[in-house]
Amino acid sequence: MKIDRRNFFRVVGVTGATMTLGKEIFAEPKNANEPEPYGILFDSFLCGGCQTCEYTCAEIHNLPEPVDAPEIGVTRKINETRRTVVNAYETSEGEVDVKRQCMHCNEPACVSACLTQAMFKTKEGPVIWREDKCMGCRYCMISCPFDIPKFEYNSPNPKITKCDMCYDRIQEGKIPACVETCPAEALLFGKRSDLIKEANKRVHEFPDWYVDDIYGDNEAGGTGLLYLAQVPFEDIGFNTGIQKSSFPELSKGFLYSVPFVFVLWPTLLLGIHEATKNNHIKNAEEDE
């Protein structure tokens, strides 16, 4: 069965199911003391590639307007002047548009890489960059498995740029600008666990239209950005080989060994020093 976007909405309207949620879902937090992080669900089935998100993002962050449009065969990349892009892919299901930006990992590699806490995972969920702390070492860029943080190479006062999920707006009780302006309702903002429930619901109610997979559910240990698509994710530019456990886990073993070395080494070295104190007399004899 071939279905286009218009038909899909019709079906939804008929079944009266899920799409009446609007642009955000708020559930009562299970535990008010432990706020659950927010996330964004992107549904490539609904995205028409209109770039409204790109224009909105550029506008509210004082960045230049996009000069190019999604084009099949061209992978547009985020860079220091644009924090989100929409790319078009030719797939078995026709053209599929995908919006990319920072994934806002649950356990971000960039945050654990940062030696000054400039990269910071807020309790609300967004991963933000703090100008007054950053020393510009770019280790966050080395570590990020999604290649998200960008650096202003041509500035004497360079910044690291990336999507911050409109953290300012979230603090004011608003939702991210791209979610608010998306005319296709392809973006949904809410508590991460609610978004996963919603994504599963869509997959189960419309199994013909979605692959049964949520990208970001446990990629890199789980991300704040969650993706639904009508084709396998490797067909639309996603790295599906990415490890399912968190990236900071990779250097934890090393970091845990540090205190042990700090205690054991000096003791050991001092012991050897004492034990070999008189060796030089023997060595001197041998050298003669």
């Binding site: 000054t116 806490q117 510009g136 080395i142 004497p156 990779l250 250097s251 073993g253 050298d287």
Partner: protein, 410 residues
């Protein structure tokens, strides 16, 4: 003697005041138009100009760094490779002060000086690469401790290790200034500084490798494994010692008149002893690399251009120098040892660059190649370091024997 300080200094330096002494010492010594000076001075000057441009226009104005490859030659070579070669200092101090192998005592000072200057200059080169160097104090003081970061650990260890090395070297400065009391106090701190220094070195030599643990998927799989920290640590031993052999051979020619007859004779014996350690650690390293490779199950990747390059590194620059070290140790062939150390040095450079630059984002659309300006700045850093090294050697008792007064107080 009881009221130390300037009194002692003025007394030890033919009654001249400390300021006159220092002023005389800061004047250049020896011929000016040597081949080294003629080559290095223009490079240093051009490098200086490039550094000004870098701070004026931004890093992008002088480097070829990309958004995919944010660390290039300045980190991959200056810092990661340079620090491996500075590893000689902790290995030699381990042998002399911990294992009490007195045979190597005569090269401790020059090795520690080399190590110290390497850290000062390579950490200095790091400042050039920082986009926002005015915030460099954030991980050291203030409330911005990113304690979960390997780089945080490495930064602290660099700083502390530089202090430890300065303490290890400080008796030579005290002897130069004729400060007897200070020398006595500082010498007393040597063992503590050595133990602290070796501990720090173990952690940050491996830590430099651990920096790349999170770059899983970005480094060509033949060079990425969870054992990078161990491999970095083991290779820093023979990297450091090969540098000691190489640098020692040059110093013994250039600073011929500084070195006593006895130490000249001892030099070949020292090189011979070090070759055994180099051969042994290279064997351990080769064995580890084979284990890592078998464990990694990347047989298919060997039959690719980067796979051939990997094999070249492992066979030509690990296995071959290992065999050469073993052979030349048995035959007591000093020349062959020196050749093996040069091959090892090249091999370590190749290995570090493979992980940090060549194999890093090998799949990126735009490949990173260092710009000529990055190379000139790197050379300028190395040349400036050599200038300072030479300045110190010509003044302080590093290669030459300590003054008589320092000898009786052992």
């Amino acid at each position: 003697m009881n009221n130390m300080g300037s009194y002692a200094i003025s007394k030890d330096n033919d009654g001249k005041s400390i300021w006159k002494f220092l002023r005389a010492e800061f004047k250049p010594k020896g011929k000016f138009f040597t081949p080294f000076n003629i080559i290095s001075l223009p490079v240093i000057l051009v490098g200086f100009v490039i550094i000004i441009i870098r701070f004026w226009k931004g890093i992008g104005a002088v480097t070829n760094l990309t958004q995919e490859v944010p660390w290039g030659l300045w980190i991959g070579f200056d810092v990661v490779t340079g620090v491996a070669f500075a590893g000689g200092a902790y290995v030699i101090t381990f042998m002399v002060y911990i294992l009490n192998m007195r045979k190597y005592h005569s090269i401790v000072r020059v090795t520690v000086l080399n190590g110290f200057l390497a850290y000062v200059f390579y950490a200095g080169a790091l400042l050039l690469d920082l986009g926002r160097p005015w915030n460099v104090v954030n991980p050291i003081i203030g409330n911005s401790f990113g304690t979960s970061s390997v780089l945080f650990l490495v930064a602290w260890h660099f700083l502390l290790y530089m202090i430890a090395q300065l303490i290890e070297f400080s008796p030579a400065i005290a002897e130069w200034l004729g400060a007897r009391r200070a020398r006595k106090i500082l010498s007393g701190m040597t063992l503590a500084a050595v133990i602290f220094g070796i501990t720090l070195s173990t952690l940050h030599q491996s830590g430099l490798g651990a920096l790349y643990l999170m770059a899983k998927g970005k480094i060509y799989p033949l060079w990425y494994s969870e054992f990078i920290p161990v491999l970095f640590f083991v290779s820093s031993i023979f990297a450091g010692l090969s540098m000691v052999i190489f640098e020692g051979s040059i110093s013994h020619k250039v600073f011929f008149n500084q070195i006593s007859e006895k130490n000249h004779k001892a030099q070949n014996n020292i090189i011979h002893g070090l070759s055994k350690i180099c051969g042994g650690t290279l064997f351990a390293y080769f064995f580890l690399q084979v284990l890592v490779f078998v464990h990694g199950k990347h047989w298919d990747l060997l039959n690719t251009p980067l796979g051939y390059w990997y094999l070249t590194e492992m066979i030509g620059f690990v296995f071959l120098p290992m065999m050469l070290f073993v052979y030349s140790y048995r035959r007591k062939n000093i020349l062959a040892i020196k050749i093996a150390s040069i091959i090892t040095i090249i091999g370590v450079i190749i290995n570090r660059l493979n992980i940090t630059v060549i194999g890093f984002r090998w799949d990126a659309a735009v490949h990173y190649y260092p710009s000529w300006m990055e190379i000139v700045v790197t050379l300028a850093v190395i040349f400036t370091e050599i200038w300072i090294f030479r300045w110190v050697i010509n003044r302080m008792p590093v290669l030459r024997d300590s003054p008589a007064w320092a000898k009786d107080v052992k």
